[in-house]
Amino acid sequence: MTYEKEEKRPVIEFSKEISSRLGGETITFCYQCGTCASSCPVAKTTEKFNPREVIKQSLLGERQEILTGEAIWLCCSCYNCQERCPQKVEIADVIYALRNTAIKEGNIPNIYTEFASGLMNEGRIVPISKFLEKKRPEVGLPPLKPAGIDALRKILSATGFDKLWPKKEAS
């Protein structure tokens, strides 16, 4: 259903940018009811994160504040909010879209660089220690199958993922 009026509404560039990204499509459906915030385990624990606020700031076009701030990294991806949203805003996915945008611009928390280098170097985000690999037959486990690192690197290169960490990881 479309309304003529809708076309005349001011469109804020940032929400347009996010809604065109994978995961961000539903951001503009939000009517700020706060069901997300009351379902959020993190919002109950710290004042630094409130999903309703993140969506609001994004809709109002506060691009810098969102992309360089701490809040988007405090979602624990539990999907409780998304499950309950009466407007079907895919909140956890919108936050992925915001994180993806922040990372493209170089705002990368250290832990994510660690995950990415594990992936790029070993094909696993949690690398397996030699100690545990040796221990496998002792406890009665079969040897680990090799990870498909070659295929993975081709995928990472096709999507440009490997270029998000230009020099540091290449050396």
Binding site: V42, C76, Y79, D93, F115, S129, L132, V139, G148, L152
Partner: protein, 291 residues
């Protein structure tokens, strides 16, 4: 004998050989064959989805392609892997354009996602392939004195329209499977709430406060143990109790046990065969209640 391609993931082989061991032993006993395929990679879970969703979907799809080539459905132990793979599988099956976009990327690795296979959580395999009747008949130990606080974690349940696992607000599968073993499943406050595990490494204090809530609530409910499905929840709650001890000066000693371990014990597999030394919180007291 039903065969599945085992998707092992990263965290289980890297941290929790006891989980893998109990899964292999118990599922074999119930006639489920696990096939280990070459060249699987990371499943592309939330930390990678946070970096780039398109890459993550492509990596998940690549892994599903390997199962398609082997003509097998996938079974997952790790809930994170289940979410990443099942979500990608449903999305790509239901959205032709997204499938085309991902397949374009996959040609670089010589793969094509066809959408011919299913991604199953191992609890679904127990429910559907083994069945409650056969499971009940396979139990040789008496777990009647054991009060179990089930904690399925978030990513077995949500997002429910993509995972199609259980009701996200009133799930029943996990508790049914605990009671089928003869144990009592106990209710506790905030049972469906997240463990906070995904915030570890970015906001450790927030993650620990959320985990502590879970330990406090299960303790108050009088549970003998928490049963988990996800290696990340396990880590957050088991190792987490060591961290809670130093940060809050509180000691709970609440055993945390993967469902496959509980299942193995119920099927009569000896505790000494299950590498239980990898647990931080000792299980002795809990195991002594099994006759």
């Amino acid at each position: 004998m039903t065969s599945y391609a085992l998707f092992l993931g990263c965290t289980i082989p890297a941290r929790q050989p006891h989980y893998e061991l109990s899964a292999r032993k118990s599922l074999a006993k119930l006639g489920i064959e696990l096939v280990d395929l070459d060249n699987m990679t990371c499943c592309a879970p939330p930390p990678l989805q946070s970096i780039d969703l398109e890459t993550s979907l492509s990596i998940a799809a690549y892994n599903i392609c390997l199962a398609e080539e082997a003509d097998l459905n996938i079974i997952t132990l790790c809930t994170g892997c289940f979410e990443s793979l099942a979500m990608a599988n449903t999305l790509l099956k239901e959205h032709e354009k997204l499938k085309e976009r991902v397949n374009k990327i996959l040609t670089s690795a010589g793969k094509e996602f066809k959408g011919e296979k299913e991604v199953r959580h191992y609890l679904q395999v127990l429910m559907n392939d083994v069945g409650l009747d056969r499971l009940k008949k396979s139990v040789t130990k008496d777990l009647g004195n054991l009060k179990v606080a089930s904690f399925s974690g978030c990513h077995a349940l949500r997002p429910s329209h993509l995972l199609k696992f259980d009701d996200p607000e009133r799930p029943q599968i996990f508790d049914t499977l605990i009671e089928t073993l003869g144990a009592k499943s106990v209710w506790y406050r905030n049972k469906l709430k997240c463990c906070g595990g995904l915030l570890r490494g970015y906001a450790d204090d927030v993650a620990l406060a959320i985990a502590r809530d879970k330990i406090v609530n299960t303790t108050k409910a009088g549970a003998d143990c928490i049963s988990t499905l996800c290696p990340f929840c396990f880590l957050t709650l088991d190792l987490g109790q060591m961290l809670i001890k130093s940060a809050f000066h509180e000691e709970y000693n609440m055993p945390v046990i993967h469902y496959t371990e509980l299942l193995s014990l119920a099927l009569g597999i000896e505790p000494k065969e299950l590498a239980l030394d990898f647990h931080k919180v000792r299980l002795d007291k809990m195991i002594s209640k099994i006759a």
